[in-house]
């Protein structure tokens, strides 16, 4: 029997980026908030301290900070006529676990989306016509977000200030700024901090890209270029380019994470509780199934609790948001045969994978001197920044020398033709390690009616509940896009002085056997039509208005960029609606 707890105002399911931000804002509005987190507690001191944090094997290879998939995995197949099987070890994407979530082990790559991203369907049809869109793939189901870039701009600015993003504006209110990205969406002001220093690989890329007429700019970074005090009064330090960023936690208070930008203030709030090691089983609904009454969870001793609440915010990793909705029976599950249903619809991913550029052995790249986001890059091939009329695809990728580390288990490049082991391999590794540059291609992934999430009929988690089932392959559109850009990037590699280049580009089939991106998106998407979206433009469930699903599960398809800053902005947007509209009059914020 579940123990019935005293009611609270708000429960967040997960305490990562969205969960801590929501608790902060709603706590400050005077509400009693409980954050339920399945991982155990962890703080910068003593948990993230160096030198133990600089352990490639433990954190990068054995993935100590990731969701324990011995307990909760995800099943996967490329197409609905295959049998999904459990992803028995994480490789392709790495959901975090513990307070701070994936926003602890991220790289700090801090982009805004573009104007066209929020209205991708409308924009594409306006610029190229419906026929063109259809020709890119009849299975594509891209749609508008229901919010615009102008809606989001103030929230982007607020979230960047919270993180202390270090960058150089390229477009302030339509005025192009030297040194920044001239192709970015207009900003209301400069970044809170100047860009990080440019490492050698970035300088080499800059020269090559400039010689071809492209527009290189310093990557915006939440690894700070200088000491900073954020609007909550929390002090952060200067990043020291340690080369242990993604998959690790920052020991230096130099990377934005809930631990460095939110929790020090939130945890002082007497109205906030953060019991760790709580596995939420489901959201409970009343007999009308239109109102949530609370959540049921199991703690680390195996005891079951029912936490009554007025408002439930699902603030987990995107895949777990969708699973929570499905396990709770909120929203109609997507049916790929009919196209009906919304929960699980439009799951999308990210196209990644650029070339390896082998430089002359006189050039020391020193890849280990890096932050997670100190690259130099171009937006000339991002989103719709180039004319797609005769290309037969939509979408694009940013391109940049964004090396985040020289950790040798992960990074030991050898040229094409080198044996995969043995003496020749070893000597090639020694020869090329410090003279090789990885260039990233990172971009959009269009949503498709063939790609979706639902509950697996066979495999269960440690509590006996169905795992989430992922059915996904990249649409051919994405492959055409990525391969087109791969050719352009080889040209950049030559202009950088590359002696040998291993071409990049995404291929089919998608495989979960190697790392690609932790930017899983969609599955509980936002929109203005309850027939094609699971949540409205304020991320509120259409049919259970006291449940909100915050985060990238709301993206109707994936954008060019790393998505954390957009998640933060979208969360602040939704929280403003909750504070200013919902709390005054609980109920649907949008009437369908």
């Amino acid at each position: 029997m579940a123990t019935l707890l005293k009611p609270v105002d708000v429960v967040t399911i997960g305490v990562g980026l969205t969960g801590s931000l929501a608790a902060l804002e709603l706590g400050q509005a005077g509400l009693k908030v409980v954050g339920l987190e399945r991982g155990s507690g962890r703080e910068t001191v003593p948990d993230f301290q160096s030198p133990p944090i600089h352990d490639e094997l433990r954190f990068a290879i054995r993935k100590a900070f990731m969701q324990d998939n011995a307990k909760v995995a995800v099943t996967f197949r490329n197409a609905s006529d295959q049998t999904a099987l459990p992803i028995r070890r994480w490789e392709s994407f790495l959901p975090g676990q513990g307070p701070g979530g994936s926003f602890v082990h991220w790289n700090g790559q801090s982009f805004r989306a573009q104007v066209a991203d929020f209205i991708w369907r409308t924009h594409t049809i306006q610029r190229y016509g419906q026929k063109f869109l259809d020709s890119c793939g009849p299975e594509l189901t891209i749609q508008d977000w229901g919010v615009t870039y102008d809606d989001m701009e103030p929230y982007y600015a607020r979230f960047e200030n919270l993180c202390g993003v270090s960058g150089k504006a390229g477009n302030i209110k339509g005025q192009i700024q030297p040194g920044g990205n001239p192709l970015e969406a207009p900003r209301s002001g400069e970044y809170p901090n100047p860009p990080q220093k440019e490492p050698h690989f970035g300088a080499i890329f800059r020269k090559g890209a400039e010689s071809l007429g492209y527009h290189p700019y310093p990557q915006p970074s939440s690894n700070l270029s200088r000491a900073y005090t954020n609007p909550l009064g929390i002090k952060m330090e200067t990043c020291i380019f340690c080369g242990f960023c993604e998959r690790f936690a920052c020991p230096h208070y130099a990377k934005a994470s809930p631990q460095t930008i939110i929790l020090p203030v939130l945890l002082q709030d007497p109205n906030y509780e953060l019991p760790a090691l709580c596995e939420v089983l489901r959201i409970n609904l009343d007999s009308t199934r239109k109102k949530a009454t609370g959540v049921t969870y199991v703690d680390d001793t195996g005891q079951e609790f029912e936490q009554p609440t007025e408002l439930v915010l699902i603030t987990a990793f995107p895949l777990n948001n969708v699973r929570t909705l499905l396990l709770s029976g909120i929203g109609e599950p997507y049916d790929p045969k009919t196209g009906n249903g919304v929960v699980g619809r439009n799951y999308s991913y990210q196209t990644t994978g650029g070339p390896t550029i082998f430089m002359d052995e006189s050039i020391n790249v020193n890849p280990f001197m890096a932050s997670g986001a100190c690259g130099t890059m171009i937006d000339d091939f991002s989103g719709d920044n180039f004319d797609h009329s005769n290309l037969g695809f939509i979408g694009g990728q940013y391109v940049g020398a964004i090396m985040t580390n020289g950790r040798p288990i992960e990074f030991h490049p050898t040229p094409t033709g080198t044996p995969t082991w043995g003496l020749e391999w070893k000597q090639a590794v020694a020869r090329h390690y410090n003279h090789t540059i990885l260039v990233q291609q990172h971009g959009t992934s269009a949503s498709s009616r063939l790609n979706y999430l639902d509950l697996d009929p066979m495999y269960k988690d440690a509590w006996g509940q169905p795992l989430l089932r992922m059915t996904f392959d990249f649409p051919e559109n994405d492959i055409r896009m990525s391969q087109y850009i791969a050719d352009k990037v080889v040209e950049i590699g030559r202009a950088m002085g590359g002696k040998q280049i291993i071409r990049g580009g995404t291929k089919r089939p998608y495989s979960v056997t190697f790392y690609q991106s932790t930017h899983n998106a969609g599955g509980a998407i936002m929109g203005d039509d309850p027939k094609t979206s699971a949540v409205n433009q304020y991320l509120q469930c259409w049919n259970v208005p006291n449940v909100f699903s915050l985060g990238a599960s709301a993206f109707p398809q994936n954008i060019t960029y790393n998505y954390s800053i957009t998640i933060g902005a979208l969360t602040l947007w939704a929280l403003d609606a909750i504070k200013n509209k919902y709390l005054k009059s609980p109920g649907p914020l949008v009437h369908s």
């Binding site: 001191v45 099987l85 070890r89």
Partner: protein
């Protein structure tokens, strides 16, 4: 002493059932005794980071096997010596202590299936779906190594006694797949063997391999000490200081100033 004879000595020692502990080192050189007296032998026998002088860097370190049996250990030692061989300048996987690392990894949580989803039913599926065998890493190694040793017992020459060329050919045959090793496809076993070899050749010496940080010195990776704010914009410089291990924490040269805690102002609310 050549590679082959060194391995033979190790195999013979293990086969005799000698427990290789610091206090019971096999009769050896004066160097060994000096090591014991100075406490350095302990560093050689345990997964510690301190550069060991119990054996010189171009020799294989002595390993106390807790997971592999004698036959398995002989095969593993011979195999990793081919996967990453030593050359004139740098020791290879055997000299780096990779067999010791594998032994401890497979005998520990990783070998038992840490972070491995282990519920059935078991289907092979598509390659894109990743590893789908019911074996833990420990079970996988035991099954495959036993099958290889059985196979070679029939042929007459154990792996460790083959010529280097024959060993390479045998490993390539495993890598190509198509062979059943006690239920483990040979390419799956090869991938596991290579993965563990690679991991340890490059991981921190605290895990029992990468002795003397040989791989880090070979490629120029400076290791766990990592603070480059002043250097990152000095493009093209060569870092030539010796690398540092996690095990050197006792010097506290990496520890940041404990007087910089996360700071929340009073009366923030």
């Amino acid at each position: 002493m050549s590679d082959i004879s060194r391995r033979t000595v190790l195999t013979a020692t293990a086969a005799a059932g000698a427990t290789i502990l610091p206090a019971a080192l096999p009769s050896g050189s004066i160097d060994d005794l000096v090591s014991i007296c100075s406490g350095e032998a302990r560093a050689a026998a345990t997964p510690a980071a301190t550069p060991s002088s119990a054996t010189t860097p171009d020799q294989a370190p002595r390993t106390t096997y807790l997971f592999f049996n004698d036959q398995e250990a002989a095969l593993i030692e011979a195999a990793v010596a081919r996967l990453i061989p030593k050359d004139e300048q740098w020791g290879g996987a055997l000299e780096a202590g990779v067999p010791n690392y594998m032994d401890k990894q497979l005998g520990g949580a990783w070998g038992a299936g840490e972070r491995l989803y282990r519920s059935g039913p078991w289907h092979q599926g598509e390659w894109t779906q990743g590893y789908q065998l019911p074996f833990t890493p420990a079970e996988l190694f035991h099954a495959a190594l036993a099958a290889i040793n059985r196979d070679l017992a029939t042929a007459g020459t154990p792996f460790a006694k083959m010529s280097a060329d024959d060993q390479d050919a045998y490993l390539k045959k495993l890598e190509a797949g198509g062979q059943d090793l006690g239920g483990v496809p040979s390419d799956v076993f090869f991938d596991h063997l290579w993965e563990l070899t690679l991991e340890d050749f490059f991981s921190d010496p605290v895990y029992g391999g990468n002795r003397d940080m040989v791989s880090w010195r070979m490629i120029g990776f400076p290791g766990a000490y990592a603070s480059y704010y002043e250097l990152v914009d000095q493009h093209g410089i060569k870092i030539d200081r010796p690398p540092t291990s996690l095990g050197e924490d006792l010097y506290r040269h990496i520890h940041i100033d404990p007087n910089i805690p996360a700071y929340a102002p009073p009366n923030n609310k």
